[in-house]
Amino acid sequence: MENASLFKRWLALAACAFCCWAMMFVVLPAVNRTFPAMARLGKVAEENNIRVGMFFYTDVEVTGVADLNIENTIRFMPHGGETPDRG
């Protein structure tokens, strides 16, 4: 009885592992094929080395680039040559 119960529990674990495998290699890739927008977004994330699941700004490399760019834009905001040369 105890062994049967243990067997069922291991079987349940195997079933869960199978479901994870199916989601990873069957279901979600099928969703990508059905919804091209999803595949395109994934490609964009891969090209920009973005891990979509990361939740804080220091986990995402590109936020450092964004921060630097915007911070320098505010500090050194281009404003030259805006009056046409009427000379």
Binding site: M24, L28, N48, I50, T63, I74, R75
Partner: protein, 582 residues
């Protein structure tokens, strides 16, 4: 988080107590000591670092950028080259930083072969590099061509004294193309320069080191050290497994991160074969989370709040508290959600910045681990939907991309998803979206503190009971003080050494090069422990009636409307000059 809260009321303790011995006996204080130990080590390694030529390059580059800003009405090639020269200096490029990164490395990315996440041999690395070389050469040639075109267009605009709007726009366009080509070269360079790795020995070493690290606190608190150390191995292995699963290519696309995999993996084990009794002494969920939160505090730099000026402050710091408070009140008064802690955790998760806000808020109000799990699960589902639907909607209605970026930054929960959705639109949208989300991330500290004070003063007491300030102090979750202290100290350091050195030594040194990686591991441990201690039936109970889902949907709808309105007003009515230059 508490496992034994009374179900009929929110009273956790009737009267708190504090004593000096808490400093070395209580978990909150040990989270502070251990967290600060890591931060101090990081500060000693990175802050005094001498990166060759750093100061001279900063001075020269800033002078060039100032001169170019005076010269032209747009960001010129020389302006960008000066910025790139500054960005080259990163504390994370120091030899010791690379050694630290190698030691703290978690399983990496993989597609179909799981072993790729753990080992890449020298031969495999060389083969990959060879494959990437033609692409790199092609990208370099394209970049050189784009640069020549950009310089020519800029020259043409300059010949007209920058007075011809059409020539200026053409020059901006060509410079934008050059930046894209440069970015493509940088990515191609990575593919042509693949390094071999083997994370298995470092994972074993890290497991031992982390076990001993936390065992110090366990011993001081008088808990079972031997039991902890024995149980720590499986918990660490599960957290490594969580990283491994999150690194799979499809999982990366959908944003299924280590937090969710830690919970899923743990719950599957706990609810099938069962969590072994000898593992349970290591299920120190709160200890891992609180230590991780102290490290997270150092990443909450208050000077980031003004990164994009006043528009960013209004979108991130005015809208967010309004949405948070309104959603909480809606949950209490309209939906009548039985658990106040579940309500505030979901409200913070949805309105502030997702998982990190949920973790901080849950710890501050002592929410149950099932409530945190439910909140993060809701966030993941809606993040996946929003990161696809929002860019598509923005394109379909012809919304300006900067407005769209600000909208997404203020509403999509996870920073990674925000960045991906922004990148889908344009580089500018990406920069604005990521910056707005970063500013929102800083709000975590204030949120955690306010929630902790509110809970101590108003919630964790009998109705009508007047709570003194001493009583609030006794009940206050002390780790929040460590979180705030880390934030204040590192904000001060970053501000005082200047924005350029702050970027190089604090942001890309102490934080991204060291403490962030430790923080990631500590959160992974906590989510693995949560999973191993969670019963499916207990989790399902919290979802009864669908009220959490209704709360999230209603709150997020309000968030979307208010953020869009505020972003439009700020970026297009009040500060159009900032928008034009981004």
């Amino acid at each position: 988080m508490a496992d034994n809260q009374a179900t009929k009321s929110d009273v956790v303790i009737d009267r708190g107590q504090s004593s000096i011995s808490d400093l070395w006996k209580k978990e909150d204080y040990w989270a502070i000591w251990l967290g600060f130990a890591i931060l101090i080590v990081g500060a000693f390694i990175f802050l005094p670092a001498k990166l060759d030529g750093m100061e001279e390059t900063f001075a020269k580059s800033n002078a060039i950028m100032a001169a170019e800003a005076e010269r032209a009405p747009f960001k010129t090639v020389a302006w960008y080259k000066a910025q790139d020269a500054k960005a080259h200096f990163k504390g994370s490029s120091l030899p010791i930083a690379k050694d630290i990164k190698a030691f703290l490395a978690h399983p990496g990315g993989w597609s179909t072969n799981p072993l790729d996440s753990l080992v890449l041999t020298k031969e495999q690395a060389e083969a990959k590099s060879e494959k990437g070389k033609p692409g790199f050469e092609k990208a370099k040639a394209a970049e050189a061509e784009a640069l020549a075109a950009a310089l020519e267009a800029e020259k043409a605009a300059e010949a007209a004294s920058f007075g011809d709007a059409a020539l200026n726009e053409a020059a901006k366009g060509k410079i934008g193309d050059w930046r894209k080509a440069k970015s493509a070269t940088s990515k191609a360079k990575g593919k042509a320069n693949v390094k071999p790795y083997n994370v298995i020995p470092s994972l074993i070493g890290l497991m031992v080191a982390m076990g001993v690290f936390f065992a110090i606190g366990i011993a001081a608190m008088g808990k079972d050290v031997k039991g902890f150390l024995i149980g720590f191995g499986p918990v660490f292995l599960l957290s490594a497994f969580a990283y491994f699963m999150s690194g799979q290519a499809t999982m990366k696309h959908y944003g299924v991160g280590y937090a969710i995999w830690g919970v899923i993996g743990g719950m599957v084990i706990a609810n099938t074969v069962g969590t072994p009794k000898w593992v349970k002494p290591a299920l120190e969920v709160e200890f891992y989370i609180k230590t991780g939160l102290v490290l997270l505090g150092a990443e909450v730099l208050f000077n980031k709040v003004v990164a994009i000026g006043i528009p960013g402050i209004f979108v991130a710091w005015v809208v967010t508290p309004i949405v948070l408070i309104c959603t909480f009140i809606f949950g209490q008064k309209v939906l009548k959600i039985p658990s106040k802690t579940l309500n505030i955790v979901i409200s913070a998760d949805m309105s502030v910045c997702g998982t990190s806000a949920a973790i901080a808020t849950a710890a501050a109000c002592r929410a149950k681990k099932e409530e945190l799990t439910l909140s993060i699960g809701l966030s993941l589902v809606f993040t996946s939907i929003m990161m696809i639907v929002m860019p598509a909607f923005i394109k379909a209605v012809g919304m300006p991309y900067i407005l769209g970026g600000a909208w997404m930054g203020g509403t999509i929960d996870a920073t990674g998803a925000v960045a991906a959705a922004g990148a889908f639109l344009s580089e500018q949208a990406l920069y604005v979206a990521a910056t707005i989300k970063m500013i929102q991330n800083v709000l975590i500290g204030v949120t955690a503190f306010c929630v902790a004070v509110y809970w101590c003063a108003k919630v964790d007491c009998v109705e009508g009971q007047k709570v003194s300030w001493m009583e609030i102090w006794h009940r206050f979750p002390k780790f929040v003080l460590g979180f705030l202290a880390a934030s204040v100290i590192f904000s001060f350091i970053s501000q005082s050494i200047g924005p350029d050195a702050g970027y190089s030594l604090v942001d890309h040194g102490v934080l991204r090069g060291f403490s962030r990686i430790c923080r990631g591991w500590f959160f992974a441990l906590s989510f693995a422990a949560i999973g191993l201690a969670t019963n499916f039936r207990e989790l399902a109970h919290y979802f009864k009636g669908g009220k959490p889902l209704i709360l999230y949907v209603c709150g997020q709808t309000f968030n979307l409307c208010l953020t869009l309105g505020m972003a439009y007003v700020m970026f297009y009515w009040v500060f159009p000059d900032i928008t034009a230059k981004i």
